[in-house]
């Protein structure tokens, strides 16, 4: 049997998982849309400070699972707990305030075309009628986080695909959410831009310790998240020592709507499941 990876060096890694209540819990969740189930009997949880990477080929139900997490979709069966509250049967009016505690980055960014970057990032703050000065200050801070301060007054149509994703991350991040949901944040981007996005995800994970659920079908992004950490002093990500992985970054894998894997990178790499092996190879 293969040995587990080396333990984490003090000062180099985020704190290991605690026994605190999980942020997200799925219990036997199933959902179907006029046909066979898209997701069937899904059970997992996301703990505090934990980053869970949801792997799987396209069309397997990853985005649906993410939308179930913050109540954008309702499951047919099972229960979903978000911040300890059962949301699977919760009415929309009660879900709205709960959703403000979770940030979500959509696959294509989903920025509002008719609003500037400033208004996009500050959308929640504008709705809450925060004073303009305060909005500007916080928007600039969020844009600085994603290194896009210069786009403050631009419209989304004048941004590149990678820049839009970064603005979407800034929008999700501006209210310091208690959970971040990333829906294929690097999908369709070139490797350099993908690395920039992954670095931002890592920065959010390691600097702010925000629990997150990240959907991707790109193994290289998932492995980078597991084998690197963000160095605040250097202002960039650095690789972890050989054989060391982030203990708070774990994997889920879907196959045809079923959760076939839930575990660490080490367990993923040594899984006997033929689909996992095929996916990795």
């Amino acid at each position: 049997m293969t040995e587990p990876p080396a333990s984490v060096q003090p000062g180099q890694m985020p704190a290991p998982l605690t026994d605190a209540a999980p942020v997200v819990v799925f219990r036997n969740v199933s959902i179907a849309f006029d046909g066979p189930p898209v997701l069937h009997d899904i059970s997992f949880s996301v703990g505090p400070s934990e980053t869970r990477i949801l792997l799987g080929p396209t069309g397997v139900g990853k985005s649906v699972l993410l939308k179930l997490t913050n109540g954008l979709l309702c499951p047919d069966e099972g229960s979903i707990l978000l911040f300890g509250e059962e949301i699977s049967r919760m009415p929309e009016e009660e879900l709205l305030p709960l959703r403000t505690r979770a940030g979500m980055v959509f696959q294509e960014g989903a920025l509002f075309d008719s609003l500037t970057v400033r208004d996009n990032v500050a959308y929640q703050l504008i709705v809450e009628r925060v004073p303009d000065d305060e909005i500007d200050r916080r928007v600039l801070s969020a844009l600085r986080f994603v290194q896009l301060e210069e786009t403050f007054s631009l419209f989304p149509s004048s941004l590149s695909g990678g820049m839009r994703r970064r603005v979407a991350i800034a929008r999700a991040f501006i209210r310091q959410p208690e959970l971040l949901l990333y829906d294929s944040p690097t999908g369709g981007l070139d490797p350099v831009t993908s690395t920039t996005i992954i670095e931002l995800v890592m920065k959010e994970r390691d600097v702010y310790r925000t629990p997150s659920l990240l959907v991707t079908h790109r193994l290289q992004d998932a492995f980078t998240l597991c084998t690197h950490r963000f160095d605040e002093a250097l202002g960039r990500m650095v690789p972890l020592p050989q054989g060391v992985t982030d203990p708070n970054t774990t994997f889920l894998m879907l196959e045809e709507g079923r959760l076939i894997f839930d575990g660490s990178l080490h367990e993923l790499l040594h899984s006997e499941n033929p689909f996992v092996r095929e996916f990795l190879e």
Partner: protein, 430 residues
């Protein structure tokens, strides 16, 4: 008769009706089915008669085509629906359409024609894949409005393929049933949607800036088209009425005719249709684009209710603006009629305007100003409804836009009729 025909097959005895598989017939895909008959016409009889019972490699098309040939004037056609050659599905599917009575007749003839082949099993089932085994024959088919005939292949492997393949058959009644269900569902969804949009105004949060922005877009933006359409409608009314009234020497009442017609009917309806064409389409396409680019989901994820933020302000802006736009259209309609009366018909202007003014009563004005309240509500709610339920990408946006404009225009005229009926009952003409 049918039970006698098929019971031996059920008991496992000698089959009454057996057909060899079609050999050498090209593989079919569902989309090819309507055009295949010409290609196989010459050889399907030969294929039907010569095939080996063990040959299950080809889709069987001959029987259906032959059945069709047997019934040239049978009314609703039996139709090859789909055959999946990759799954080696040997089911032959005959679909009957439309009414039940011709279907029953057609089925009888089909069975009679099939009975000529006495070496293979034919089973009837409805639907094919309900049956645990295709030997099961159901004799109640003739009372059904549509039917599927499936043919069991003697080869067990092929039989298995029939049982295991997914249902690819769409019964003729399905589209009708689906359409009816869809219609009921749409009405239900629209009612809930419209009710929620209205009740949102009576609770927090309210988005007044959105209301003002939409009022500007709908009200000011539509002024020019409403003004022009009103003016020329009034002008046409004056032209037409003057030509007719001159036969009775009553051209003096042209003003009365134009003003009453414009204020009571044409002003509200034409304005409603013009605003629907401009704004229902705009709302449906704008919201539809937001749906397909996940902006609506993003809004919900940010804790903002799209119904309150996007729909409710549009509905109330449309109601209030259409009220004023109708007044503008009425005024310019009367003005257009006056211009035609003075400059083209060379009649007296003061007489036209005095008649137009004197003939008006409060019930006329009430009737003219109540209608735009309904029309405004219809335009915005239908536009937003179809926009918010857009599916299918950019093509879906186009579809939603068309549906919004068409349904809004039809509903405006329908509701105009109902409102007119009610108001005429409340305020009977003198």
């Amino acid at each position: 008769m049918l039970s006698q025909l098929f019971e031996p097959g059920l008991r496992g005895g000698r089959s009454l009706l057996q057909l060899p598989p079609a050999v050498g017939v090209d593989s079919l895909r569902p989309m090819q089915a309507p055009n295949i008959q010409r290609r196989v016409k010459a050889e399907h009889w030969r294929n039907l008669m010569r095939g080996s019972p063990r040959d299950d490699c080809h889709a069987r098309t001959s029987l259906v085509l032959d059945a069709r040939k047997q019934l040239p004037n049978a009314g609703p056609w039996p139709r090859l629906e789909s055959i999946d050659p990759e799954r080696r599905q040997c089911a032959v599917v005959v679909q009957q359409q439309k009414r039940a009575r011709p279907t029953r007749k057609t089925l009888k003839k089909l069975v009679q024609s099939f009975c000529r082949f006495r070496s293979h099993v034919i089973s009837l089932s409805q639907p094919v894949y309900d049956a645990p085994a295709c030997r099961v024959a159901r004799v109640d088919l003739l009372s059904a409005p549509c039917a599927i005939l499936s043919m069991q292949h003697p080869n067990p492997a092929a039989r298995h393929s029939i049982q295991s393949c997914e249902p690819v058959i769409h019964m003729a009644i399905d589209p009708l049933e689906r359409t009816a269900k869809q219609l009921v569902l749409t009405v239900q969804d629209y009612s809930l949607f419209a009710w929620r949009a209205i009740t949102n105004l009576f609770s927090e949060p309210r988005y007044w800036p959105e209301f003002l922005v939409q009022s500007d877009i709908i009200g000011f933006g539509s002024t020019s088209i409403v003004l022009l359409s009103g003016f020329f409608t009034g002008g046409v009314l004056a032209l037409q009425s003057a030509a007719t009234l001159s036969q009775f020497g009553a051209t003096a009442v042209t003003g009365q005719f134009v003003s009453i017609t414009m204020i009571r009917e044409l002003g509200p309806v034409l304005t409603g249709i013009m605003v629907a064409a401009r704004n229902a389409s705009s709302m449906a396409s704008e919201l539809g684009s937001m749906v397909v680019t996940e902006q609506i989901d993003a809004m919900r994820a940010l804790g903002v209710d799209p119904m309150r933020k996007l729909v409710t302000p549009r509905i109330f802006a449309c109601i209030s603006m259409l009220f004023f736009l109708t007044i503008v259209a009425d005024a310019f309609g009367i003005l257009g009629g006056g211009a035609v009366t003075v400059f083209l018909n060379h009649q007296d202007g003061p007489q036209y305007f005095s008649k137009a003014w004197e003939s008006l009563r409060y019930p006329d004005i009430i009737q003219g100003l109540v209608k735009p309240l309904f029309s405004g509500y219809i335009i915005a709610s239908v536009g937003c409804f179809y926009g918010m339920r857009t599916t299918g990408g950019t093509q879906g946006v186009g579809r939603s836009t068309i549906q919004a404009v068409v349904n809004a225009a039809v509903l405006i005229i329908l509701v105009d009729f109902l409102v007119t009926r009610v108001l005429l009952a409340l305020f009977p003409p003198l």
